[in-house]
């Protein structure tokens, strides 16, 4: 190394360049809504100019009209009510059972290995493939659809719940024991609230699974329901009604996600 390497370098005073740029995306609700508006406008322009053929994709206006038709005729509410009921009953059944089994697997050695083994084996089966079996067991009507959704929700809920219980800070449980709290108190006041954030985020996944199974089950055998609506529109090539059904489904999903968001805020205000 040359000695002039150590000599003071005389240059003009320069500000230090700021280097920590980027890698910090921020949320912007206006942009979120704006993206929808832009997409719909582009779509409408595409249809009006004939760039998108009416057969391939109905225009937003046509979809809106058909949606309006569904609303004024009252059909929409019939379909929504049928779907909503199936979703609610199926999801609640699957979730309650899944939470119960998840807690057992998370807390007791006797439930651990059998529970994990069974769940791992049964989880990957697409529940919709079992629908015919559920129809034999529970009849063609509503119960077979509840069962499809319920089983679909049950397994991921078990897996998520016992993971949540496993991840409750051990030191808090030890603290509870060191103060001689009863097992029931520890479960209720330490494990349950500690597992709640993970359980609630699992609800988002299980509710999406429930919607997917709902539509699939309704496509296989139902007179009413959004899935049935989409299927019958599709078989008549009424693409505007088909898309209207899809839009309803999407709004349905958004509404559930909003509800879960409220639940989060309400139950997890301490975070």
């Amino acid at each position: 190394m040359s000695p002039d390497h150590l000599a003071p370098v005389k240059t003009a005073k320069q500000p230090v360049r700021f280097r920590a740029v980027g890698f910090n995306p921020r949320a912007n609700p206006l942009a979120a809504w704006g993206s929808f508006v832009v997409l719909i406008i582009l779509w409408q322009i595409g249809c009006s100019t004939g760039f998108i053929s009416e057969l391939a994709m109905p225009s937003p206006v046509a979809v809106a009209k058909s949606l309006w038709q569904l609303i004024v005729s009252g059909d929409l509410w019939v379909h929504l009510a049928a779907s909503g009921q199936r979703l609610a009953v199926g999801w609640v059944l699957g979730t309650v059972a899944g939470l119960a089994v998840g807690f057992l697997v998370g807390m007791f050695s006797w439930a651990r290995s059998p529970g994990v083994a069974l769940v791992s084996a049964l989880f990957p089966i697409p529940k919709i493939a079992l629908l015919p079996l559920f129809i034999i067991w529970f009849g063609i009507g509503e119960p077979s659809k509840f069962a499809t959704i319920g089983f679909g929700v049950f397994f991921p809920t078990v897996i998520n719940t016992f993971g949540a219980v496993d991840n409750v800070a051990r030191n808090l449980i030890r603290m509870g024991q060191s103060f001689d709290m009863s097992t029931w108190s520890i479960v209720r006041k330490i494990i349950l609230p500690g597992a709640l954030p993970t359980i609630l985020s699992g609800f988002r996944i299980s509710s999406s699974i429930a919607i997917i199974l709902l539509v699939a089950a309704e496509m296989i055998g139902a007179q009413y329901g959004i899935g049935a609506l989409i299927l019958s529109a599709g078989s008549l090539y009424q693409t505007d009604q088909l898309i209207a059904g899809v839009v309803v489904l999407s709004v349905f999903g958004l509404a559930i996600s909003w509800l879960l968001g409220r639940l989060d805020k309400w139950l997890l205000g301490w975070r």
Binding site: R174, M175, S178, S185
Partner: protein, 256 residues
Amino acid sequence: MRLEISGVCHRYDQVEALRDINLTIEPGEIVALIGPSGCGKSTLLSIIGGLLKPSEGKISASGAVPDGCLNPLTYVFQDFALLPWRTVAGNISLVLEDHKLSKAERAARIDEVLEQTGLADFRNAFPKQLSGGMKQRVGIARALAVRPAVLLMDEPLSALDAQTRILLLDEFSALFARTGMTAVYVTHNLNEAVRLAHRVVALRRRPGTIKEIHTIDVPIDQRREGDPLIVAHETALWELIRDEAIAADKELENVA
């Protein structure tokens, strides 16, 4: 309450953590456990409080407990162990709720310990809003709420910054002097040991055994920072555990 530790040995799978520990903790006595990392201090404290079953030996307790004592052997944790979803008052209430206390009695106890620890203005705050020192004060308040016979403290000041540590050390020393509490106090910090303890038990490692018991016969409330007598005790303790500390420092960790 008197605690008698007799012939306690403990092993985790391959590691022999403690061997033949015999020690009696007299009522009203503060005993500090010091020793290098991994010598089994936390293990011994867990065994004393019944959170860990020793491989051999036993702990027996005898003598009276304070009036209204709900949990004779009560821990104060290094990481505070507060429930983040409960307020300060709620965290204290938690350990009273399993006992047969009237609502008024429970509220009175909570008010009393909040007052004692200077937390009265923070009763509705959540742990995440508190500084480390305040969190540990909640830990102390929670422990005092059950009127313990013996406090078991595992490095209660280790997670705090140096200034907060000095403040809390003074508060502990005042608390011990005022209440005549019995306590087992685990620490890495020799200064804490000489400020708070009547007897300092130095442990040796691999396996953990008692190396020496060092008595400090200055009343706790008369010990001042920088007092030559206290400094001399601290130096003596350092001489005692220094070789162990050097060995511990050089050792490769074989347990995760």
